[in-house]
């Protein structure tokens, strides 16, 4: 199975992937990345009105093959 690397960033901290992991396809790796982003957002929110959770998927050669951003834009109405 092909090797993929995931990077996550919650706007405050960045997490690199030094080990990589095997997934059946790029689509499965994409689902892992987006699922992890959603869980990261669930853990971190509702802390902050404006937050961006970013994820990067790299292939075996460390080339970026997919980007994802999960954003919160919120604020009280004046």
């Amino acid at each position: 199975m092909p090797l993929f690397f995931f990077e996550l960033d919650d706007g405050l901290r960045r997490f690199d992937d030094f080990e990589g992991s095997e997934h059946a396809s790029a689509e499965e790796a994409r689902q892992e990345l987006v699922g992890a982003l959603a869980m990261l957002a669930k853990d971190e929110l509702p802390d902050g009105n404006i937050r961006d959770f970013r994820g990067v998927l790299r292939d075996h050669s460390r080339k970026v093959v997919f980007n994802a951003t999960l954003s919160l834009r919120s604020g009280w109405v004046e």
Binding site: F15, D17, E19, S21, E32, L33, M39
Partner: protein, 252 residues
């Protein structure tokens, strides 16, 4: 948890155990007469990594009193890797094959060896005969089942309310309790399956605990560096099932 500090040294011995030489805590607290009911039918067997001791929806052949190693009780929903989520952990403090002690012959959950070791196993019919003859034996195994129900309940709470790094920290503590060592053979793939989270989430949570100096993670191995601070990190999410176990199954 105090389990690990109470453990006896292990040395290889005969296939049929004496009460005094069993590393299994449940067997070690039985009255001699109750242990004698089980002893002729107990057989020491190795536990191999990934071995399925109890299969789903299948009559259970043996119960296993774990002496060394760790067993995961797993909800195996789709029969595939990504359908498996751990619901309970059993080590030398317990046994697997719980349905047999409750009057049932099978379960939809599987029991899977996550860390190799050895156990004393007993055929289902022999265990049920002994249980029928001894209310005290039923009491010990029943109280263990109760402690495991508490553990499963706390895992439900942890999965619903804790962030991933706290869940990982709790799980590392529970694993160390049962393996009684600092180096734990845990791959990220295994952790993502057991915790029911995505693989990148495990990598992230591992790095967070490592960044705090609580653990060291290397390929296929997590080393506990500071158990006291891991305990402080997890807080009240760890300790209740462990305390219940000690209360229910205090040594005579």
């Amino acid at each position: 948890m105090e389990l690990q500090t109470r453990r006896k040294d292990w040395s290889e011995s005969s296939a049929q155990p004496e009460r005094s030489d069993s590393q299994n805590r449940l067997l070690s607290i039985l009255d001699p007469a109750d242990f004698a009911l089980l002893a002729p039918a107990l057989e020491r067997v190795p536990l191999s990594l990934n071995e399925i001791l109890i299969a789903a929806h299948t009559p259970i052949q043996h119960a296993y009193f774990i002496e060394e190693g760790m067993i995961s009780l797993v909800a195996d929903i789709r029969g595939a890797d990504n359908g498996r989520i751990e619901i309970g952990i059993v080590g030398y403090e317990g046994f697997v094959g719980l349905p047999l002690a409750l009057g049932a012959d099978q379960s939809p959950h599987i029991a899977l060896v996550q860390a190799e070791g050895h156990a004393l196993r007993i055929a289902a019919a022999d265990l049920q005969t002994a249980l029928h003859r001894s209310p005290a034996l039923r009491g010990v195994l029943g109280r263990y089942v109760q402690s495991l129900i508490v553990q499963v309940g706390q895992t439900v709470y942890a999965n619903a309310d804790l962030n991933i790094e706290a869940r990982l920290a709790r799980w590392i503590l529970m694993t160390q309790d049962r393996l009684c060592r600092a180096d734990l053979p845990l791959t990220h793939k295994f952790l993502s399956l057991m915790l029911g989270v995505r693989r990148p989430s495990v990598t992230m949570a591992t790095q967070m605990l490592e960044g705090e100096g609580l653990i060291r993670a290397r390929r296929g191995c997590i080393t506990v560096l500071d158990r006291d601070r891991l305990l402080a990190f997890v807080g009240a999410a760890y300790g209740l099932p462990e305390a219940e176990y000690e209360r229910l199954l205090a040594r005579a």
